[in-house]
Symmetry: D2
Subunit: 488 residues, 4 copies
């Protein structure tokens, strides 16, 4: 095993929170926030709660070890790394993913499980990376073992900045803007330029995966690669957006003060990537087939669907508590709103179930959940989620406007607050807690970022529709209808 992929000396297998924090202190990424370099992300107010949450997730997996961990080579590792071989594997992964998502009520988009499913899919289909005489499969498998056995958290980035959206990075006015190869040596390659939207920039590693649908041309080959690096690699910087954790604490901002995972732009300044961390290189076809051919698209979408099921469950619980707390159960329009959310939940669960029922071994022997139900799930959710958030606003109404803070509850006007903020079945303090949560799920800057995130998680909805149209010619159904017409 190369030095670049060494096992941690202090633990092997699934980490606990303290392990994550120790590694973060030892290998801090270079984060920039509001024009300044972040000194110590663990203590940096806009980010520290997100960091602590990620650490807590590593403890949580041990609290739920039966479902979330499995034993490989005598080590406990996260089940999110499972290379599924049969349906029972897949169902076990599904349970682990649902359990993991409950930790954050589905609010962490970059739960490490997400990219773990990618890496496992690559490893389970590693031969794909050797197509055309390449020999990257070894790298993929070694990296898989490295990241699984060190239980590292990954961020990734798959978007190039493009001033002109209609053409690729090589054909922009300034082709040096996007991350591209500047030099190649026996030891590795050198990368300069930017990549957009790395969520969770305080992860351990960053996957720099191909931006999809690269045009096939020589000029584009400099942008055609997939590699993985420690986020702390020299020459790599992250520019953070401003945090939506405004320092109000979890009593006042129950979601924002916990689940700020942060989004960043990644800047590469002559960054060195050793060959053993490269998965593909200058091969545009491979880059374009990457996700789909290995089953990674299906496996990460399966993870996302699990997360979204839990996210809807959170909203369904929230809405039910609001209805019950305020005694709204007699209104038909409330029934319709709840039924809309419930039916959306059932749909996502049915898509998960159907993807399991239709799972098939791919060309490389890995079991991959059926794609069509997952495609439908990722097409529908970006419209369902904003509607659910709207329903929280519609049910909460003016009750979401003038909410006191926890400091008010601890202050001299408590008696007055107790009187005027109670609802039919909730004392004021409980009502305020509940509506604070509803506010942070539907009105706050955190809520707004979540809505935006879900709308565009899988890309432009219009492009998704085009992809569905192109991939589903429906020839058999056209034949059936033509047969009916000719039967006249």
């Amino acid at each position: 095993m190369s030095k670049a992929l060494a096992l941690d000396s202090e633990y092997q297998g699934a980490r606990k929170g303290a392990d994550f924090l120790r590694h973060l202190e030892a290998c801090p990424p270079e984060l920039w926030y509001q024009g300044k370099r972040v000194e110590n992300v663990r203590n940096f107010a806009p980010l520290k709660n997100g960091v602590a949450t990620l650490a807590a997730l590593y403890d949580y997996q041990w609290d739920h070890s039966v479902l979330m961990l499995e034993t490989v080579d005598d080590r406990k590792v996260s089940r999110s790394f499972s290379i599924t071989k049969d349906r029972s594997d897949l169902l076990a992964v599904g349970k682990a993913l649902l359990t993991g998502a409950q930790f954050s009520q589905g609010m962490l988009g970059r739960d490490p499980a997400y990219l773990n499913r990618s890496i496992a899919s690559f490893a389970g289909s590693a031969d794909f990376f050797d197509i055309g005489g390449r020999t990257f499969s070894h790298n993929v498998k070694e990296y898989f073992r490295f990241v699984r056995d060190n239980d590292l958290a990954l961020t990734h980035t798959i978007l190039n900045p493009r001033a002109n959206r209609r053409i690729g990075p090589a054909f922009q006015d300034d082709p040096t803007v996007s991350a591209h190869v500047t030099r190649e040596t026996d030891a590795g390659i050198y990368i300069t330029g930017a990549r957009l939207v790395a969520t969770l920039p305080f992860a351990d590693e960053i996957a720099v995966f191909p931006a999809r649908l690269l045009d096939v041309s020589d000029a584009s080959k400099d942008y055609a690669f997939a590699f993985v690096l420690p986020t702390s690699t020299a020459g790599l910087k992250f520019i953070c957006r401003d945090s939506v954790d405004y320092g109000m604490g979890p009593k006042n901002h129950p979601l924002g003060a916990r689940y700020e995972e942060m989004d960043a732009v990644a800047l590469f300044d002559n960054v060195f990537v050793p060959w053993e961390r490269v998965f593909c290189y200058r091969d545009i076809d491979i880059c374009n087939q990457f996700y789909d051919a290995t089953g990674a698209t299906a496996h990460i979408t399966y993870q996302v669907v699990c997360k979204n099921i839990v996210k809807i469950e959170f909203f369904l619980g929230l809405i039910s508590l609001m209805i019950r707390g305020s005694g709204l159960e007699g209104f038909q329009h409330i029934h319709e709103k709840m039924a809309d959310v419930w039916a959306g939940w059932q749909a996502m669960k049915a898509f998960k179930s159907a993807s399991e029922a239709g799972a098939r071994l791919n060309d490389f022997g890995m079991l991959v959940p059926d794609w069509n139900p997952l495609e439908a799930a990722r097409f529908m959710f970006p419209r369902l989620y904003p509607r659910i958030v709207e329903i929280v606003q519609q049910i909460g109404a003016s009750g979401l406007v003038t909410l006191p803070t926890s400091e008010d509850l601890d202050g001299p006007l408590r008696a007055e607050i107790d009187k005027c903020f109670q609802s039919m079945r909730l004392e004021a303090a409980d009502k305020i807690d509940l509506y604070r949560l509803a506010w942070d799920a539907s009105v706050s800057a955190f809520a707004g970022r979540q809505v935006l995130y879900e709308r565009f998680f899988f890309g432009d909805p219009v492009h998704m529709a085009t992809r569905i149209f192109r991939n589903n010619p429906c020839s058999d159904l056209m034949d059936r209808v033509n047969g009916f017409i000719r039967a006249k």
Copy 2:
């Protein structure tokens, strides 16, 4: 076996079309149309095509006997009568239902398979009918064998006419309007009054099942029963609505001239029902639990979901042909419309799959598909179907307005028609055939009745939402959210 439930002397088991027609001639129901009694329904223009279609469906099952028939007691019987014991039974039934629905492109709501699933569920859960010391299980099981082994077609009616929708039939100004018991003897009961919406009034038998949610009161007991009768029983009349088969023939009205199944009001005038055809009687609790407790609700909904999958497939094929024929594949809004239909299709297929994956044996040993996915399916489809029809209109546009008839194509202006009705990839005659079909699926009176039918198939959508709200208290999800709040 009583005389009332005798086997046909000429065949036993799955019928062919000729068997159905022979029985219809021998035992004609008393149908009224536009104020006159229908003399011979096989030759009666407004209905004869629907009758011929139903006969053809009986031939079709033999053409697809591997999927649609099974052998019981050495007889071939329709698989739609299967009392499912394990998942393979259910999957086989599902295939049979999908195959059967393809016969009519999903346009026959009262495909006999629909009520066959009810009767099979009752028979498979027959002990339910003996709860409280009653002894109706024998009737249920005998009737099941009778209808299966004679392969009879059933219509049913479950709605009472109620001038005031908020109260039951017993409390209307005139309590004699709805069908009710007038007399009881050792031989059976006598029924007088009306029931609404019997679809397929030229079926062999009519099931008169409890109108749901009867209030529990003595006055309501006269309306609390379930029984089955031949449609030709003396004293039973059906008033038909006016047909949407306007005699234009299948070239011009490809759907309306085939699939007019007709809806009727059933009038009972002192109609005698022998005890062996009674399933429950004067027991309001049993009436109210009837469908759900036996698994019949789930099994008929499963049939409907299969039918709806095929119906969407028909529309998806139709839409794909229109897009292809007119060269619309370059428009993003066309992609979005197609993707909407496609995703709706995937959702219905996923609900079917999830209901199979979650199927469980009920208290009586019959395997019942999981209810929640089916409930979601029946909640969503009434909104999906009108949207699909709207998409056909949006894609067809003015092409659906000025369509020539087949007589025009055979007339002296054929050359002119050939010139001005061609589309990018279709000759005029093919374009006209395709758009005729699109018109009959989205604009005609037949199309309008289909939309109405799908909107209200399972009742008022508002009531469905209320039912979902009431049946899903989401206590565990409320606990989860409360746990999160208290964790602060």
Copy 3:
């Protein structure tokens, strides 16, 4: 005055029904229906009711002569021909249009008032037609007087058949399909080829106006013209679609048996057009500016908005009667549905009012209603109308399915019908009349054609959006926002 534009010898000015029918008998258009030539349209079952309705409209204008007629040159003429000079003219026209639309509940799209507004706009802006040295203004003015003083009904056609929608008629595989000029003489021009969708083919005259947005090229000049002809001109044929008046009579099909205005394809076979009936010729720029520059677009849209206001009023009355008849006034979702329709109605009325308040004299001295509110009205109505129709279905529900006919009411089962078709506040016969009307407004083939007609009346909704986008650069609003940004 040329012979082609002579006044009728028997009347001058506004016609009565008998005048229309006499003219139709004297000068019958060549209509083809189901492959055969229509002998006498007044007695031809699929069309005779529509013909009678148009005749009745001419009587109706005399019954409402104060609002609908005005005196010009000592003759009473229809106010729909008014060349508006000031706001009081416009308001008077508006009242006449609203009154006229009430005759048909807004169900006649080709109420003659519609094209009268075009012809009046052309005459009021006649100098436009002389731009570039042409001298067509004389023709326009003479024709205006001819059609006004004979009170003729016009159909029109503005669409070329195009197998390939993305290119003009000159560039299709077969450029002879669309109507085009084949010869030009001192007396006039000769036209051969087809035009789509002439609604009301039994009108007196047909306007053949430019298909919009002709590409500017020599090849397209053969398709660039505007002229008007008697529908009875030799060589001109109309192929009708099949009628949605199925002969059931006005009791059963209250709308379809009255308002079938018919749509047809117009075929020109070397048809001669005398110069005095030509308004523009081989001038693509003029053709493309035609409607907008003369104010005709605004004036016809104003007529359509008036018609649509009345159409919504019909639905609002219908819905209110259904709610009241069935005692649905206590349901919140019913309130929301009614409020949706009501608000749509207010919007259309407000657009009318705003177009009047912002009316301006155009370059030729004719008062033209403000365009923007009318543009918004025609953008919104195609989405509003299908929603209103859906609401009728949602309120009518299963009550729209099993409706007896008037023949049933006259038949032997009347007593039973009286019992089971009553609603909370309506006797059965009245309930049936009301729901028959609701059915014909929302479910029947007539209803379907109306929905289709309203969806596409002003063309493809996507193109309308593009037109709005292109015509409204919002520069001032961009400046305002930029000013705000720079103020930081």
Copy 4:
């Protein structure tokens, strides 16, 4: 003039910002924020920007004095106090309101003009307050002059806290929660209890107006009153929600750092109200008719519609800049989104215009804009506004996620930012400014509060629909349809 209604000694008539600030310092309201009393609101970070904005609005009116001010009794006063007598008055008020709204891009809901229209309506219809022998009209007129001639800013509150929403404040478990009369003397009345949602709590005065639709009962009379007080009155406290101005400054939060108007709960602790500040008292009928009978509902809605027009204009400018900046003008779905916003804008402008065209003098001689168009406007806007905000998200997409701050632009990574944040037609700094604004309009906590505010500004949308249903029986339209039916 009583002391309570004295003119300010230093100015008379329209104020400037400095006047407002001086008064605020002299008479500070008792504001509570996060459990502590606010010492000096002008310097208090969460509120100071909102205070400065309100001050700037007073300067702005002098910068636009021709439109926004008028001369009364030789003083310049705000035109928002105009008691309209004819249409030109109303149009002038409309221009002033549009101009005023442009100051804040329509983001200030409690622009003082809003309540000024109420007070002017009360004064213009003052006789209403004397109905039944009362003599409050004098108070109303005196107060009108006082507030106009001192140009004071008002907040108001019209909602009682009610744990049980279905019953009035007198019938709650604890009837002392809501603000109620505890004592009455010759000098005035004493009030104790709470009122919800006073927006702009740092206004000069607070109007405590009747919560609508009080049940008529003796018990409710203690809650039936309307009065106005200085916000600095002894015993009156305001509990603020937490600010959505997070101290990031106007470069980063261009809206939130300017337009945080704050919402508060008002607590009355034995607060004394002198009689001259009481408008009605213990008269439930008067309380319930208050707004509508005086024309105040119409006049404030007219102000709101003017504000909403400007608000849409802001979004339309913003969207246009985003489309142009990123070169999205070629996408049809972008056209549709822009056209949706544009059509909504036209609708609001048409409603304004129609309300002017239909304005009528009320019983007291004040010109009141026509209600129906305004009712429709306030019914539609709560659905239109969230859709507009959604469109900003849909157009901005991932561009709204990873935005650098102004501090980043001033920091060492500026060169990299310049490269990777440019768009097709915008330099990075300009793109960031524009997308910051889009973010604050559609994603931030400020944006969320705006959406919530607009959804519920006029109350529960379901109640609004019920109000429309009840107030519009449509008898004439039912008669018209019945006439049509009977004509058969």
